[in-house]
Symmetry: C2
Subunit: 118 residues, 2 copies
DNA sequence: ACTGTACATCGAAGAACGTCGAACTTCGAA
DNA sequence: TTCGAAGTTCGACGTTCTTCGATGTACAGT
């Protein structure tokens, strides 16, 4: 296990890569968890995939420049990259708002803009 | 050639699909052309791909809900979908700003945040 | 030193993507 | 009605993605 995984330099981060990383439902759900701007560990990401698949998605987000990974013992802590968030603040902050809203909408069974018909 | 291509309903547009559509350099360049909010035709999209490939990318953008296609004779006119732009205004408007800026930066050989060293 | 935990990496399978040329469709013009 | 132009669709090819189980690696505890 690498003690310090490779995070791309801020100036090497490309917009297309960011969008590509965000263009997957599973990764969007990961971003929704991270939207509170705090550091999270694996157990927080309740994504219904195999552990190896979660690792894969984490790697994509990290290599796109969206997340920062920190190791402590055998544990891995993940958080948003504040420098990337700053450089692409308009796009990313609004994205985080959207995914966080989607998440709580999915959690609370309260239909609003598409009422379920009996 | 279909007289009216299928555009998805506004409420069916998914964020992951939007990002996925934006996650390609060629399509991002198309979006940069459309960023002026006016209607464009094929000649405006100076993307170095075969016509069939351009059609493919156009279809992806259309099916994601980003663009509106209008036919007049044998010609196809493309513009941004204003309803989608409104619903995801924060994300999409900032994205358009970024891609438009990237485009003019690529056009004008004026380095600013990465000065070329002699 | 051994064992277990936490996570990454590998290898493989199937699906999706980007690309092209060729064939097709639709329309306008001769 | 015949021809060409504009654009889409089709078929193919190679690449990349998503997913998994199995294996590997680093650390913590006994």
């Amino acid at each position: 296990m690498p003690r310090q995984p490779d995070h791309p330099d801020l100036e090497d981060i490309q917009l297309a890569r960011l969008f590509s990383a965000l263009g997957d439902p599973a990764r969007l759900r990961i971003m929704a968890v991270l939207a509170d701007r705090s550091e999270h560990q694996r157990e927080d990401f309740t994504v219904e995939v195999a552990p190896s698949t979660l690792s894969h998605h984490m790697k994509i987000l990290r290599e796109a420049g969206l997340t920062r990974h920190r190791f402590e013992g055998t544990r891995c802590f993940v958080s948003l990259r504040t420098d990337t968030l700053e450089r692409f603040s308009a796009v990313l902050n609004s994205t985080l708002e959207l995914v966080a809203a989607d998440e709580e909408e999915a959690a609370a069974p309260r239909p609003h803009h598409r009422p379920a018909q009996s």
